[in-house]
Amino acid sequence: MGKALKYLLVIAGALVMLFPFAWAVITSLTPDGAVLASPPDFTPEGAGLGAYERLLAAMPFWRILANSLWIGLASTALQLITSAMAAYAFARLPFPGRGALFAVYLATLMVPLQVLIVPLFIEMRTLDLTDTYFAVLAPTVASAFGVFLLRQAIQQVPREFDEAAVLDGAGHLRIFAFVVLPLIRPALATFAIFAFMASWNSYLWPLVILRSPEFFTLPLGLAELHGRFTTEWNVVMAGSVVSVVPILILYLFAQKHVIASVAQSGLK
């Protein structure tokens, strides 16, 4: 294949990937009257940040953004801690029934969220916890996927490292925290990226369990915004643009690692 043709195709592909984002930005800067113009008005009068102002007036946007961020970070941190600890037990602490228990963990991996939606909703309602941060966060705290991933990583840590620590009189908590955890940092980072993305994008469960806008996460806030501003696409796109920015910034910093993690997950 000719080199020029190859570049042409790659660039065309990149434009297809970028255009929807660019169009969202352009639409968000379009004044109210010109949004639905047909043919599109590319140089409308009064272009500016009007839609963003309306967005901020229509919903507690900063609060919703903060919710998404802190829920994502908290969920990621909790999953890292709980998964790494369980992974250590499954890799390093023999106990009766360990294999069976690990099989139970793995089995939960196969159960999709929608199987759990109804009883989880009832459970939260019974505990009077619907429409709370706790209800959004709680089902994400334990991750069988994380336990599986980190157990693999811990198993690859040579036992000589632990043994040296044992001879120094260290208990399991110290071995875990100061010997094993530092050695599995790449796996922890990979898992953290997956966990944060899952929480950041999560829609179905927050949709079911949350009612009040002040607890909303971004996907929920945006969907609700779309419900109210059905035809006011400049406001909806303003919301979309602003909600992409934080994850985009994170992505720019972690880009290489994110892509390496995904690539690794396909190579067994």
Binding site: L9, A14, M17, L18, P20, F21, W23, L36, S38, P40, I81, T82, S83, M85, A86, R92, L93, P94, F95, R98, F102, M110, P112, L113, Q114, V115, L116, I117, V118, P119, F121, E123, A142, S143, A144, D162, E163, V166, H172, L173, F176, N201, Y203, L204, L207, V208, L218, P219, A223, H226, W233, M237, S243, V244, I247, Y251, Q255, I259, A263, G266
Partner: protein
Amino acid sequence: MSVTTRAASPVERATAPPRRTAGQRWRYAGTVAIFLLPSLVPLTLFTLVPMAGSLWVSLHEWDLLQPMRWVGLANYADLLGEEETRAAFGHTLYFIAGYLPLVYAGGLGLAMLLNRAMKGRNLFRAVYFLPVITSWVVVALMWKWLLNPASGIVNWALGLLGVEGPGWWTDPDWAMPSIILASAWKDLGFVMIILLAGLQAIPGEYHEAARVDGASPWQRFRSITLPLLSPSTFFVVVISLINGFQVFDQVHVMTGGGPGGATQVAVEQVYKLTFEYGRAGAASALSWLLFAVVLVVTLVQVRGQRRWVTYG
């Protein structure tokens, strides 16, 4: 999943229960508990108990408000007889049939373009991956706007080419293609990255040797690239099918199952049964039926992989 039985290492011997006094055994059990409980407690409360609960609910008639009424397997029997269930699974299969070939062919094409060293490769890779990190709701909204029948940019561009664009998500015939298009666009980068990693694991000498023997690019693609890429392809197909059967976010935002039920997929049906039709029991039953389908499909693939997946 294998639990290896091997000689205990010094660490395990030093901490293994049998040689210890009762007090030390309790201390060891306490240590195990400290490591396990932080995940076991939430896993039990928010996954295992709801799993059991879901099976229990699926055997009842229930609108979430009145007391539950035991109906045995009637929900399952009802669902299997209902036109809506067949339609929901049909729409889900329609989605998969459109989405999987599109995302695989597109992902493979991009991966092959980026496989050789070229200027700006990392930049292109990062750009293609951008939709993957964007949340589904944002992607669905962006595409709903791009594909807006009256004022969307896509139909305007089609108009410039002299083509009258369809009604996209407002047209029962075009609603599912719209969702498929948006979904393939979002996941293309993910598939590309997986396949690119697979391509780069293929030793260059294989292609060299085949070229020396006079194999055409197409022959090399058929006899070297595709077979050696099969583990990555397998991974992509398994993941895409699991996700495809569970498609919901983009449907819920773009069409809500409409117009006229044309995109009413299985999970959307679970959602509606629960929160709109007051049939939580049937919804749970449907979710288990869907789970059974996904499980069977996945197992069939895992068993069938020997026939076409080559592990180097």
